[in-house]
Structure formats: structure tokens, C-alpha cells
């Protein structure tokens, strides 16, 4: 692009250039956010009172082995150099090796991330399928006992310590009633029976046509996903209700009613149709929260997902693993946010 065209565009901005700068701006802000995220994580790793060398070598490490590892890990270089080296590697798609199990962090993340994705997706599905109708019903019956019940259901969801509910749920539904599978993604017999395609056991087992594996995986995921789903239900139903109330008071609804349209049509065809966009934003946010916020659920249910991966790595000073995991989760969070923003701007006339 030459100088003159630049000026030309400067005077009369073409719409494409506008999109381009916006896109570049968005990319830039993602990049700086990620850089900041990495930097904070990196600093935490350095001030952590765990000696990473002991993490690798174990407690009986001799002084010689210790010193050799110190240099091998580049700890003799200034912190800022270590950081820049790390960034350079990440840019090239290399998250380094996990200190603890000597595998590329990327492989670990590819292994653990689908587990979290599966759990958060099913959880959000439950939250949407139950939460949206609940919110609509509450809004339509505003002020009645139905509304109150919906409110209590949601508030109880907000108030529940999920680690505790998970424990009690496991005790009751797995331990006593035996209705669901135990902790973990799948029963021990079924481990490694299905070839990994997507990493999502539910999908892989269907692809492979192994229905017993599929049902076993369902029985394992249903409880943790329901718990997460309950949490997301609480949020989604409250937001749905609030959006619906806004619409129900609008003039066109009153007009529609006056015209003699059935209540069902008024609610679903008109009011609900208009809240779809903000609702999708809310669902995207809640999805992002489940993706990053299921640490405790994963721990209770021994779910080999990214939340428990980062936590375990953190507590054993496996900073490459922590950094890698945080980057993935952070990136996802930022992207989902931007996606919902864009969606909002694109579909909502008021935002334009």
C-alpha cells in the first residue's frame, strides 16, 4: 500500500478499510491481553515458593543433579530473558515440555481440553433447555407464586457451593442409588476402547458405533454436567426473565394483544423472538464461565479436564503447563467475549 492510497482512504474511508482496522484493533487487543496474561502467570511462577527443580528431580536430588538441571531449565538467565524466550516459543506454537511428565504441554492440552469442552457444553445445554423456559414462564407470570418459585430455584443455584453439592450428589446418586456412573469420564473397562477422533468421548463413541461406551460416558457426565447446568440455569433464567419483562411492556406487544393474537403467539413469536440476540450473548458468557470455572467440579468428579490440569500443575510448580493451560483458557474466554460482542452489534439494531 503506497502513501497516496493511504491518504486517499484517509479522506474517504472505505467500509472495508474500516472493517480491517477494526479487525486489526481487535486482534491487537487480544494480543495485548494474552501478553499480559502470560506475563502475570510467568511472574507468579517465578515468585512461587516451590523449587521447580525439586518438582522435576524429586526430593532426593543431589547437588550435582540439581545444578545441571538449573542450567538446563535456563534458570540462570535473567527473568526477562526467560520470559522473552518463552514468548518466542509460544508464538511458534511451542508451549514447552511439562516439567513433571516430560511431555509436550500441547499434547497434554489436546488430551485434557476436550474433557472440559464436553462437560461445559452439556452443562450449558442443560442450562439453556431448562433455564430459558423457566425465565420466560417467570416473566409471563410475573409476581405470582410461579415467579417466586422460579426465583428461589435460581437463587438456590447461585448459592450452592458446587464442591459440596457435587460430593452429596455423588454420595446419593452414585453411592446410594447407583443411578449414575462414578467419578471420571468413563468406566474403567471402557478406557481406550474407542479410537480418539475428536477427544470428545460422546462423539467418538458414536462415530465408532460403540453404543455401550456412549451410554457409559453419558452416565458419567450426567451428574457433573447437571450441576454445572444448574448453575448456568440460574443465570440464564434470571437474565431471560429480565429480557422478557422488558419486551412484555413494549408497545408492539400491547398492540399484538389488542389485535387478538393468542397469548402463546405473543410470547413466543414476538417477545421471545426479540430477545434471542441478547440471550445468545448471555449464553456465550455463561458457556465461557463454565469452560474456565469448572475447576472444583472437575476435582470432585476426577474429571481429567483443563481446570484440574492447571490446578495440579500450579500446585507442583509445573509452570510450563500452567502457562499453556492459562493461555488456552484465556484465549477462549476473550474470543467468546468478542464473539458475543460482535453478534450483538451485528444483530441488534439499537447497538448500531
Amino acid at each position: 500500500m503506497t502513501d497516496s492510497t493511504n491518504k486517499e482512504i484517509g479522506r474517504q474511508p472505505s467500509p472495508y478499510f474500516g472493517y480491517l482496522t477494526k479487525a486489526l484493533g481487535t486482534l491487537g487487543s487480544i494480543a495485548t491481553t494474552m501478553l499480559g496474561l502470560l506475563f502475570i502467570t510467568f511472574v507468579i511462577g517465578r515468585v512461587m515458593p516451590i523449587d521447580p527443580i525439586i518438582a522435576v528431580l524429586g526430593e532426593r536430588a543431589s547437588k550435582e543433579a540439581y545444578d545441571a538441571m538449573y542450567i538446563e531449565m535456563g534458570l540462570d538467565k535473567p527473568v526477562i530473558i526467560q520470559f522473552l524466550n518463552y514468548i518466542w516459543d509460544v508464538v511458534r506454537g511451542d508451549f514447552g515440555m511439562s516439567l513433571l511428565n516430560a511431555r509436550p504441554v500441547v499434547d497434554d492440552i489436546i488430551r485434557v481440553f476436550p474433557a472440559t469442552l464436553e462437560l461445559a457444553t452439556i452443562g450449558t445445554m442443560i442450562g439453556v433447555v431448562l433455564g430459558v423456559p423457566l425465565g420466560v414462564v417467570a416473566a409471563v407470570n410475573r409476581g405470582t407464586w410461579i415467579d417466586q418459585i422460579a426465583r428461589v430455584i435460581a437463587l438456590v443455584g447461585y448459592s450452592m457451593p458446587i464442591f459440596w453439592l457435587g460430593l452429596v450428589g455423588l454420595l446419593v446418586f452414585y453411592g446410594i442409588l447407583g443411578w449414575v456412573g462414578g467419578p471420571g469420564r468413563i468406566g474403567i473397562f471402557y478406557v481406550d476402547l474407542v479410537p480418539t477422533v475428536t477427544g470428545l468421548i460422546l462423539v467418538d463413541s458414536i462415530i465408532d458405533g460403540q453404543w455401550d461406551v456412549f451410554w457409559d460416558a453419558v452416565s458419567h457426565i450426567i451428574l457433573p454436567a447437571s450441576l454445572l447446568g444448574y448453575y448456568s440455569l440460574a443465570y440464564i433464567s434470571r437474565m431471560t426473565r429480565s429480557f422478557m419483562l422488558e419486551q412484555m411492556g413494549a408497545e408492539y406487544i400491547i398492540t399484538a394483544r389488542v389485535k387478538g393474537m393468542s397469548e402463546w403467539a405473543v410470547i413466543w413469536r414476538h417477545a421471545f423472538a426479540n430477545i434471542k440476540v441478547p440471550l445468545i450473548t448471555v449464553i456465550a458468557l455463561s458457556y465461557a464461565n463454565l469452560l474456565e470455572g469448572s475447576v472444583l467440579t472437575e476435582i470432585i468428579f476426577a474429571w481429567p479436564g483443563i481446570g484440574s490440569y492447571i490446578t495440579t500443575a500450579l500446585l507442583s510448580a509445573d509452570m510450563n503447563a500452567v502457562l499453556g493451560g492459562t493461555v488456552v483458557v484465556g484465549l477462549l474466554f476473550v474470543c467468546l467475549n468478542i464473539f458475543s460482542d460482535l453478534l450483538y452489534k451485528f444483530f441488534d439494531p439499537r447497538a448500531k
Binding site: 515458593p49 516451590i50 523449587d51 525439586i54 518438582a55 522435576v56 528431580l57 524429586g58 526430593e59 532426593r60 536430588a61 543431589s62 547437588k63 550435582e64 543433579a65 540439581y66 545441571a68 511439562s98 513433571l100 511428565n101 516430560a102 511431555r103 497434554d108 488430551r111 433447555v129 431448562l130 423456559p133 414462564v137 407470570n141 410461579i146 455423588l170 452414585y174 453411592g175 447407583g178 443411578w179 449414575v180 456412573g181 462414578g182 467419578p183 471420571g184 468406566g187 474403567i188 473397562f189 478406557v191 481406550d192 451410554w215 457409559d216 453419558v218 452416565s219 450426567i222 402463546w264 410470547i267 476426577a302 481429567p304 490440569y309 495440579t312 500446585l315 507442583s316 510448580a317
Partner: protein, 531 residues
């Protein structure tokens, strides 16, 4: 409001459908052994590097060693394994092993003296954490070419001094003595690492099993070796799955989803005892639970104070309550069943005596920090200590952290007090004597962080020489006597208060037979197991 009920019914229906596939209670297949265990300590499967409990369990079943223990007769001590026999030279420094004929690695390559030479040299040259088990005999990267030598079907190793032969052979039964397949390993060498990075996640042994997969914090899967020289194992597949919680392990065991649960707490053991189809085994292990006092602390360095503190743990109360069945009172640094072990128990809860000793030392009270790993029984022991220490005016502040956090500070001599466990590295008394009672240079610069005495800034004085003398004593009875004397002195003078020895309680399905965990001297063996 018909639509409301419509929605509610349909969602409720959906929920019921989703919940409906109730699992049939199954049993594991007859030729498969499924074990629940905590395996998050595995960091590598390379025998030259592997050093943690769960890693040793894998290694014992995958790699043959020159000498080894028979799981069905542990008391007999080491027996020939890949070495069919051995002779000791007159000066006692050279041991020559004759290799067993006809043993093959999993790859099909024959096990030769050259492989044994390679494996031991490799362990010395790589110089990973457990290498001291070999290098304490004077092997170095520079001299292995002459000290570890294969000749035909024999292998000779020459130590720098004359050591008790049993000491040397006991060390070779450790994980680091595992014999790897030289051809396979070297084919996977990267940048002169002698196959280290490949062996971390793969196996190249001759043992009863080979590694199919190791997923960190998740599972280890082993496949049987049908050509195992002692006969093909009955269990074709062994799956060890990481299950953190005792309660979960118990539920899995009760439902028949697993055959063996290895980390049941006393409450859950009580809960399954007497249930149909389930049995509980108890096996004495080598791990000791001890407390140690940092000698840099002005009050703790007073001999009478540290003696006083040993009269404060409620040994019996703990053993009979939250440690029930899983720890037994033991107060000396050699675990029971070790050569020279003693059963003296001079200490019991005696507040009056502790008070008197404190008064004699002229100390009325002080405040110290104890570092504890986040494990249930350790936190409970710490709280119990907190309670009884308070009775003599010692305020105990508990800091709970992950193993790595606490060890980092322990090794840096930063903790006033440490409460934790110690497991022997190899089945010879030297393994514990050389760490509890040996610290030839106590200066901060020395950084002998591997030694427990060093970590507590304690100079054992004359005990250093006693330890060195015991290692080279050839006469078994004399050697045992030396360790006994050492321990009696250690009990009264050292800043270590050994409290308990571990008993491992294993819940198993009653049809599982011959599962041996390895006692106090080695690790679990899967090959004799039948169902």
C-alpha cells in the same frame, strides 16, 4: 397456562430419559486386573530416573534386575533374577554375575551381559536423582568403562572399597538396577540422551509386563509378556487408574468396577470389612512417619527440649483412632523387618515428664512452625501434636502445603519443624542410617539437601563414623548389632522423633489372589496374581 405444563413435562421427561440407562453392576474380566491407586507421583518411567512409589510399582513389573525378590517369599531376601549366579572376589570388591540363558526382552532381543553393562553404566552416566544408589560404591561416569564390564555372558562390577556384599546386592534390587534393552533404547536416542526422553514414557524391559500407556494423573496400562521367563502371567492386562479419594475407591470396589483399592482410609476399611466378596489385606511397609526439629532454632537445639517433645505425641491415641490399622507405633529409624531393626519404644505421652525436661532445660514456652503435606493423616497428626504440645507451652503453627511446597522449604532448612514420611530407597539398613544419622558437613554451603540430618541442620558427631563403619562390616551379626546401638543412641539424642511405621491396607475383591505389595523392601508384583 397449558404451555407451561407442556414445557415442564417435556423437560422433566427429557431429564428422566437422560438418567435412565442404569448401569448393570459388572465384574472386571477374568484376565484383567484393575487397580485404583494414587499415581500422580509418577514423573518418569525410565528406571535410571524413576524414584517415586507408583513409578517403582510399574518398574518392578516391567524390568528384570540382576537380583530380585520373590514376591511369594520376600523373607528369603534377594534371589537370582536375570543373573543366574554370582561370585565375589577374594578382596571383596568385585562381584561377577553370570547371566541367565534364554531370557528375551519384549522386543525379542536376547538379554545379554552387554545389556546389563549398558543399563548400569547408563544409570551412572545419566546421573539422575536415584543414581546415588550406585555411585555410593565409587562408580563415576569416568570409571564405568573399567568398573562395570561385560565379558561374554558375565558382568563384573568393582567397587571402590570392600562393602558388605548384601549391601551391594540389595542396592541392585532397587528400581535403578532395572536392565533395559540396549538396542531398542539406543535406537531411540535423541541428542546423546541414551534414550532417556523416550524411556520416560515407553518401556524396553524383559519383565512380566510391558507398558502400553501412561497418562499422567490418569492411568497406567500394562500388557502381559507371554514369553516371561517365569511363565506367562495370568492377568493379560493390568490397569492402574488414578483415583484420588478413598471414598471413591471404596465405591468402585464395592460395585466391582475395580479389583483392588490401595488408598482406603481407616473409616472406609471399616466400612467394607465383612462385606460379601471383599477382603482386606494388611502388609507392613517400609515407610516411617516422623517429626524432626530444626537445629537452627535456638530452643529446639537444646537436647532436653527435643527429648521433651518426644514425650508429647499421643502415640497410642493416634494409632488407635484415626491411624487405626494403617500405622503402628515404631520409634527407631530402621523399619521393622530390616537388618538391625529394633522394637524399643521408649516414648509415650507423658506431659509431666516433658514439663520436667523443659524446666531442666530452662525453657518455659515458645512458638514454632510445622510444615505438613496436605494429606489427611498428616494434618490430623499435626493437629494432635498441636494439642499436646500446647500443654507444655509450645505453640505449634501448622502450615499445610503441597508436597513440593513443603519439601522446598524443608530442604532449604527453613522449617522449624517437619512432620512427614520417609520411605527407604533400597532394602539395606544403610538407606536410612545414611540419611537419619549421617551428615559429615553441616555447613550451609555444603547443600547436602538429600540428607535428612542436613535438612534439620543436625551434626550427628560420632554417629557419622559409626554409619561409615557399619557399611563395610562384612559380618552380618556384627553389622546388625552396630545398627541397633546406633538407633538406641539416635532415639535419645537426635532431633528426629520417629513415631509410626506404615501398614498398607488393601481392599480387594475376594477372587483376587496372590497380590503382594512388596512388604517393606520392594514394590508390588502383578505376575503371580490370579482370579
Amino acid at each position: 397456562m397449558t404451555y407451561v405444563s407442556k414445557i415442564l413435562t417435556s423437560t422433566a421427561l427429557g431429564l428422566t430419559l437422560a438418567m435412565s440407562p442404569v448401569l448393570a453392576i459388572a465384574e472386571t474380566p477374568d484376565n484383567m486386573l484393575v487397580i485404583a491407586n494414587r499415581i500422580d507421583d509418577i514423573t518418569t518411567l525410565d528406571p535410571a530416573e524413576s524414584f517415586e512409589f507408583a513409578g517403582s510399582d510399574v518398574s518392578r513389573n516391567v524390568y528384570g534386575r540382576l537380583v530380585n525378590f520373590d514376591p511369594l517369599n520376600l523373607d528369603a531376601g534377594y534371589k537370582p533374577d536375570l543373573a543366574a549366579s554370582w561370585t565375589v572376589s577374594d578382596d571383596g570388591k568385585t562381584i561377577t554375575f553370570t547371566m541367565r540363558d534364554g531370557v528375551k526382552f519384549h522386543s525379542g532381543n536376547p538379554v545379554s551381559a552387554e545389556d546389563a553393562e549398558f543399563s548400569l553404566r547408563r544409570a551412572v552416566i545419566l546421573n539422575k536423582t536415584p543414581s546415588f544408589i550406585l555411585t555410593q560404591f565409587g562408580f563415576t561416569a569416568d570409571n564405568v568403562a573399567t568398573t562395570i564390564v561385560a565379558n561374554g555372558n558375565t558382568l563384573s562390577i568393582t567397587t571402590d572399597k570392600r562393602y558388605a556384599t548384601s549391601f551391594v546386592l540389595n542396592c541392585l534390587t532397587a528400581v535403578i538396577g532395572g536392565i533395559v534393552d540396549k538396542k531398542t533404547v539406543m535406537a531411540n536416542e535423541v541428542d546423546g540422551d541414551m534414550g532417556n526422553s523416550w524411556l520416560k514414557t515407553n518401556s524396553a524391559g524383559s519383565g512380566a509386563y510391558k507398558v502400553v500407556s501412561w497418562k499422567p494423573n490418569d492411568s497406567v496400562t500394562l500388557q502381559s509378556n507371554p514369553d516371561f521367563y517365569q511363565g506367562a502371567p495370568a492377568m493379560k492386562r493390568v490397569i492402574v487408574r488414578h483415583v484420588q479419594e478413598s471414598a471413591t475407591q471404596r465405591l468402585l470396589l464395592e460395585k466391582g468396577d475395580i479389583d483392588v483399592a490401595r488408598n482406603l482410609n481407616p473409616e472406609d476399611v471399616a466400612g467394607i470389612s465383612g462385606k460379601d466378596g471383599i477382603a482386606v489385606d494388611s502388609e507392613l511397609r517400609g515407610r516411617l512417619m516422623y517429626m524432626a526439629f530444626n537445629q537452627k532454632h535456638p530452643e529446639l537445639s537444646k537436647p532436653k527440649v527435643r527429648l521433651a517433645l518426644k514425650y508429647l505425641p499421643d502415640y497410642k491415641g493416634m494409632q488407635d483412632s484415626f491411624l487405626k490399622g494403617q500405622y503402628t507405633i515404631h520409634q527407631a529409624f530402621l523399619p521393622r523387618t530390616y537388618l538391625g531393626a529394633i522394637d524399643d519404644k521408649p516414648f509415650s505421652l507423658d506431659v509431666a515428664k516433658a514439663k520436667a525436661l523443659m524446666a531442666e532445660a530452662g525453657v518455659s514456652g515458645f512458638e514454632i512452625e510445622v510444615g505438613v503435606r496436605e494429606a489427611q493423616e498428616r494434618i490430623e497428626i499435626a493437629q494432635s501434636l498441636q494439642n499436646s504440645f500446647a500443654q507444655v507451652g509450645v505453640k505449634l503453627n501448622i502450615t499445610v502445603g503441597t508436597a513440593k511446597q513443603i519439601l522446598t522449604r524443608y530442604r532449604a532448612r527453613e522449617l522449624d519443624m517437619y512432620l512427614g514420611a520417609w520411605g527407604p530407597d533400597y532394602p539395606d539398613p544403610q538407606t536410612n542410617a545414611g540419611t537419619f544419622a549421617f551428615n559429615p558437613d553441616n555447613s550451609d554451603e555444603k547443600k547436602a539437601t538429600g540428607l535428612l540430618a542436613y535438612r534439620n541442620a543436625w551434626d550427628p558427631g560420632a554417629m557419622n563414623q559409626a554409619v561409615e563403619a557399619a557399611v563395610i562390616e562384612g559380618d552380618r551379626d556384627k553389622r546388625a548389632k552396630m545398627y541397633q546401638d546406633m538407633q538406641r543412641q539416635h532415639q535419645m539424642e537426635s532431633p528426629f522423633g520417629v513415631m509410626f511405621q506404615k501398614i498398607e491396607q488393601t481392599g480387594r475383591r475376594a477372587n483376587v489372589k496372590n497380590l503382594n505389595l512388596g512388604g517393606a523392601i520392594t514394590s508390588v508384583s502383578y505376575w503371580p496374581v490370579t482370579k
